[in-house]
């Protein structure tokens, strides 16, 4: 029986050397310092040069312009905006429009991706062939081309406002977009929302309770009638007591366009459809790869336990596949967000169109505006990555447990 010689604990200097320079020791440390210094010098040179050049050419610089009046209009804004607002406001209008199209695009792309992937994996030959054709056509055409196609093809098919396609005289579809009734809040709104929130909380509590019973005693209890009662009954009760939560403002044809109601502009629809179908094709392949990475035996084990195919997929296969799916899925989400900057081609007022477009040409301050825009895309992408990392970490943890 031999005992390995016990290593003496590292001396303080040695530890410091390890921490700073890695395995190469002090030499590595010096190289890192030198490299950092050179990087800092280059960055300084670039900034200083740009500043001197701007000054000698008398080009305005700095961020003062953000407080000036923008003086132009935007056709879709999630916050109140008119042409006497500042460039700051324009920035947020554009940012929110970018976020809106990205978030909705991501949701649709994910749904499309999962459905198409399940089609491709299905034992039904027709379904899997359709899924395959969809993926091969959509992911092999340039996305800008698809955006223009959806925009121009959809516009060409729709009638002018005066010949709108009317659906129950409530919804109107024409080449200005889809006009829907606008909900206007009534006194009953807050009790209604409170009842709805209470219903959701109770329903979640019931679900938690049901799972505990299942894990501890091994039998399922039926909760769905209670859940339904909470989610529908409580808001209904509030409506009976406090009256309607909102009334609908119906659109009416006035002059060239409709007045009243809310409108979903065709630019938004075309961009969302194009981005989500395009990204959905990539996601379908990622999901398929993820599901196929799960061993066949898992599926067989599920059937031998008497679970249906759907239950096996949902409870056994998909959770394991998610570990493989999440990292490339994140990349697709980031791609979708960045591709949304192609909006300018079809006149959707996203950040690149209104801020890095109109605002640049009105103020001429390209460096500041482009830097801000790049910063925003970086921030959006990092946030998406972080959220997806947390999700991935939770999956891994639950797999380990």
């Amino acid at each position: 029986m031999s005992i390995a010689p016990r290593k003496p604990p590292l001396q303080f200097a040695l530890r410091l050397k390890r921490a700073l320079g890695g395995k190469t020791g002090w030499n590595g440390f010096a190289a890192q310092i030198a490299f950092a210094a050179i990087l800092a010098w280059i960055a300084y040179e670039i900034v200083a040069n740009a500043r001197t050049n701007l000054e000698t050419q008398h080009i305005a610089s700095g961020f003062g312009f953000l407080n000036y009046n923008a003086g132009f209009d935007v056709n879709q804004s999630l916050i109140a905006y008119n042409n006497s607002d500042t460039y700051w406001r324009v920035f947020f209008v554009g940012l929110l429009n970018t976020i809106l199209v990205s978030v909705i695009g991501i949701v649709f792309a994910t749904v499309i991706g999962f459905i198409v992937a399940l089609c491709r994996l299905s034992p039904n030959g027709v379904l899997s062939r359709i899924g395959g054709i969809y993926v091969e056509i959509v992911r092999n055409l340039p996305v800008l081309f698809q955006i223009l196609f959806w925009y121009l093809a959809v516009l060409a098919a729709l009638p002018a406002p005066r010949q709108s396609i009317s659906i129950f005289s409530t919804f109107f579809l024409n080449n200005r977009g889809l006009i829907v009734p606008l909900p206007v809040s009534e006194p009953g709104l807050y009790p209604f929302l409170a009842a709805l929130a209470a219903g959701i909380v109770v329903a979640l509590g019931l679900r938690h309770h049901a799972r505990r019973i299942l894990f501890q005693r091994g039998h399922m209890i039926r909760i769905w009638p209670y859940v339904l009662g909470c989610l529908v009954g409580l808001p209904l009760a509030s409506m009976l007591i406090f009256g309607w939560p909102f009334k609908l403002e119906l659109p009416q044809l006035k002059g060239f366009n409709f007045a009243g109601g809310a409108r979903i502009i065709p630019e938004f629809v075309a961009l969302t459809v194009a981005l989500s179908t395009y990204t959905g094709a990539f996601i379908a392949e990622i999901v398929r790869a993820g599901v196929m990475s799960v061993h066949k035996g898992q599926m067989e084990a599920g059937s031998s336990l008497g679970l249906s195919r759907a239950a096996t997929l949902r409870l056994i296969v998909v959770p394991q596949a998610m570990r493989v799916i999440v990292p490339p899925l994140t990349s697709q989400y980031l791609n979708l967000t960045k591709n949304s900057s192609l909006a300018v081609a079809i006149g959707y007022p996203d950040l690149v169109s209104v801020f890095a477009g109109t605002a640049v040409s009105q103020t001429g301050q390209a460096i500041e505006i482009i830097a801000m825009t790049m910063g925003v895309y970086l921030l959006l992408s990092l946030t998406t990555s972080a959220l997806m990392s947390i999700y991935g970490w939770r999956i891994n943890r639950s797999m380990a447990a």
């Binding site: 490299f35 000698t56 042409n83």
Partner: protein, 338 residues
């Protein structure tokens, strides 16, 4: 590997430091043997490639005239097509020597962009085009209309001012390029397309049925269009400025592409000064004595350029109007060459 990336960094840094503002535009162009001129992505009459791929238009002729005085060859021009929103950045960064791209002269552009306007090639104003079938006869009847516009232009601001000033509502849809805006207008997305009046006439030619569309009579803004150069090179500023002035002066004196050779024999003192048979005005500009002769031989005088590109001799068929000479009822006026 680390060394390679370092080298790239250093090269980038070196290029950036080399780009300090220079007052050497003329020398740079002569060394390069080519003038780099920013133009539009295709606006018939102003700057657009013809069916053989040659750039033509009034803005293009200004570039050709500059190339003629500097390089003695009007074909030595590299045309850089620029969208409205990229044009100033291209000028600021030194990618182009002169921007001749139907650009409106405003105080903010003349100052904060780090560039100067050198003159007015065309006095324009913003107008509206609508479908005849809408039965609209005035811009004041456009309440609640949807308006297509090209982004990155003064047009967007004028539009906002006009509708606000007249208490009218509207919806603006701003596109990255003029072609996309026109296409959306044609497909019915908008009731109105707005641009400088000259641009409306040019765009109307591209529509399937030009006769179904009318340009409304209201002109809602002043849009003096002219060439631009960077701050910091006064000699180059003078050359670009006086090239246009020379074209206008040539028309005033009756010097044309056809008669310029006979005019050279004239003994009128003013004619001799302008055509360089007497004095050294061209050399004072850093050019040659025969600079005006070169311009007129290359593109003709201002009136000839106008007629050929946008005037009654062209598909656009725009009347001279305010763009006529000051002594013929217009406002085109150039300081004298002496």
């Amino acid at each position: 590997m680390k060394c390679a990336s370092l080298a790239v960094f250093l090269a980038v840094a070196a290029t950036l430091s080399g780009q300090a503002a220079s007052a050497q535009t003329l020398k740079t162009i002569k060394d390069r043997g080519q003038l780099s001129c920013g133009v539009s992505q295709g606006l018939p009459g102003f700057s657009a490639p013809d069916d053989k791929g040659n750039w033509t238009g009034i803005d293009v002729d200004v570039c050709r005239a500059i190339a003629a005085v500097v390089l003695d060859d009007p074909t030595k021009v590299k045309f850089v097509p620029l969208s409205a929103k990229d044009r100033f950045t291209a000028l600021q960064s030194g990618e182009i020597d002169v921007l001749s791209r139907n650009t409106t002269w405003t105080v903010s552009r003349d100052t904060s962009l780090g560039a100067n306007f050198t003159g007015v090639t065309y006095y324009d104003g913003q107008g509206f085009m609508v479908k005849k079938s809408l039965k609209v006869n005035s811009a004041l009847e456009l309440n609640s209309a949807s308006v297509c516009v090209q982004t990155g232009t003064t047009t967007e601001q004028n539009l906002a001012d006009f509708f606000k000033g007249n208490n009218m509502k509207y919806e603006v849809i701003a596109f990255g390029s003029i072609d996309e805006a026109v296409k959306a207008y044609e497909s019915g997305r908008c009731d109105v397309f707005t641009d400088d009046a000259s641009g409306l006439y040019a765009s109307r030619l591209k529509l399937a049925n030009p006769a179904d569309h009318i340009v409304l009579p209201e002109i809602i803004s002043k849009e003096p269009l002219g060439p631009m150069v960077r701050h910091g090179d006064d000699q180059w500023f003078d050359i670009v400025k006086w090239t246009l002035f020379a074209m206008i002066n040539a028309e005033e004196l009756g010097i044309t592409q056809k008669n310029v050779d006979t005019m050279l024999k004239s003994d009128k003192p003013e004619m001799k000064r302008v055509l360089g048979t007497d004095g050294n005005l061209g050399e004072q500009l850093g050019l040659t004595k025969d600079w005006v002769v070169r311009i007129v031989k290359a593109v003709g005088n201002y009136g000839e350029t106008f007629e050929r590109n946008v005037g009654t001799g062209s598909p656009l068929g725009i009347a001279r109007g305010v763009n006529n000479l000051w002594n013929k009822g217009g406002i085109q006026y150039a300081p004298p060459i002496r």
